[in-house]
Symmetry: C2
Subunit: 397 residues, 2 copies
Amino acid sequence: MTARALDGIVVLDLSQVYNGPYCTLLMAQLGAEIVKIEPFRGEPVRWRVVGEQQTAAFGLLNGNKESLRLDLKDPRGKELFLRLVARADVVVENFAPGTLQRLGLGYEVLAEANEKIILASGRGYGAQTPQAGQRAMDLTIQAVSGVMGSTGYPDQPPMKAGAALADFFGGTHLFGGIMAALYQRTATGRGQHVEVAMQDAVIPSLTSNIAGYLDSGGTLPERTGNRHGGLAVAPYNVYPAADGWVAILCMTNGHWQSLCGLMDRDDLADDPSFATPAARVAQIDKLDDFVAGWAGGRPRDDMVANLQQAGVPCAPVLTLSDVMSGPMVGPDSMIRPVKSADGQVSYVFGSPLHLTGSEPVPSTTAPALGEHSDSVLTRTLGLTGAELATLRAENVI
Amino acid sequence: MTARALDGIVVLDLSQVYNGPYCTLLMAQLGAEIVKIEPFRGEPVRWRVVGEQQTAAFGLLNGNKESLRLDLKDPRGKELFLRLVARADVVVENFAPGTLQRLGLGYEVLAEANEKIILASGRGYGAQTPQAGQRAMDLTIQAVSGVMGSTGYPDQPPMKAGAALADFFGGTHLFGGIMAALYQRTATGRGQHVEVAMQDAVIPSLTSNIAGYLDSGGTLPERTGNRHGGLAVAPYNVYPAADGWVAILCMTNGHWQSLCGLMDRDDLADDPSFATPAARVAQIDKLDDFVAGWAGGRPRDDMVANLQQAGVPCAPVLTLSDVMSGPMVGPDSMIRPVKSADGQVSYVFGSPLHLTGSEPVPSTTAPALGEHSDSVLTRTLGLTGAELATLRAENVI
């Protein structure tokens, strides 16, 4: 008998693209049963075709889920959904604001069907903003949150982070909020509505930048390239190697002393004008020149090995291709090759959550659209073959 | 009587810098009691001084917490800590790997003191990597995870995201993992050890990039500036306005038709060679030129208003200074001005988590180092004034 944190938890997953689907993927990997309820065309990432094929993005985020195709705009579809809600624990959605209400499926309606239900809504803009009712996407949230303004070189245009951090901060917070609501339900016996806006969820990740703004009275450069976001630490940068790039930082005086030793620069180590973090920050250009000059001729991996041996925080800057041929790809790692029934290998994400008391869930590939419509409705609501045939003929499922 | 999700939950917070402290901040704002246990010098962000003052970063992340100064290397400090563990629910730490074991306070020791205890450990590198035992920081994780490789222009060096996404993805996942463990404990009566590595936690945010790599067989440019990370959507970019920048994207054919209408380019709207997402991606340079040419002369906010009215996803690119003078700053927003006892205003983060069944916690400023040492030890362990005086005289607290 396996034991998992979310054994017995049933999730009706109306979510789409990245934000909600990542939230339910985390739940799936803790043992929850995820019924992904999709409109007739499937959710938007299913449509996203590159060249001739569906993008791999759908597969990465939808392993360990079942797919139920269901038309929520049809009254019979809506009725089936509410019967499922009566037997479920959590509903997750990240529709445009107001969509669930327009379907007649707002929180009050769900709570009437099941007072224990937890509704989790991924939003774009914060409730306190004039844009609260608007639809948002990762790019637009990166734009309004200050992430773009804080990324890139000071003398060049703002730059988005290559990572879709708005979507994924939104989804990860939503997951945590659902877990907290499940815990609270064990005391109250009641569900509740959990909401997380991406715009709110990215703000704390700008701590260095916001602190830099507050500490300097708004006089710091808006973006600082690869330097510390609040210019509070130096050296802290990405330096050229002979064959790539290396990130190096000195958080403490000890790190600085070790780096000077490695660079064979006792004169700098002994120089009182570099003896404190604040003093080093004040001479950041000079320090970056010293380190870049030292690093420039050296092979990347040798330099990293030497820095690590000396106890200086550092890392090689890896390309995506390096990552895809390294230990992040593997059966027990974050990017997992899984064979489907037809023998094709596709890639699904693992979970960053390691709980000693919750056994890992073997990864399965993402479902085909509607693959589990019959089995879910039979298992959960006891529908007969004839009933399923009628619903299918009339385009409800 | 207020009701909050984490009423009655006691957290011993050994964590430092951003990752762990953000995790416990989320718990504090759901009603948990957070005892921040700090070494004699205080945690590292307390030391980070910019100019003459402590950085605002410490204040942003440590509201609604108590500070207990405690020397865990002293046998009496360790004994006090284990007595606190016996009365607590969660211990959070993000020390360098092995530190807790060296202190004689590994999970087994804590579980012996209290079988219900949940130990949560924020790590740097994934357990499956050769770097698993090494200390990591946000910059180094951005380097090895592919975030830097995926950020910036293709013909320029790799660029870190301005946001400290490794630290905060780590902390947010850790929070969710603790909540799941608390929920599981209601069934099992037992705690467990929760671990999250930043390196694992950032990987899913690269979904577009990883999918682009897989879909293209690794032939896509490693970084794509402000274009879609997997080059799967176009137009999708940041375009120059007369007085700033605007992010615009067309996820659907409908968005594209609307944008063409707004640009007064019926010829493009009708052109079959732009009729599908894949066709548009294939001519991405041409499309970006059209949109940039149209956008270039227009005032930012007018352009955004017109695009929004036409239903085209878009947003102005805000500077940090725009953000700091907008609705993200306010008493019920994410960046909250709070007056301390001495009348000084400092800023603390609010929570992105909105739970209708868990009342918001009024924000308080971060504690002074050791501010609550006496009250915590008296309240929790019943220590007397004389005992406290001895411990203080002998540098244990």
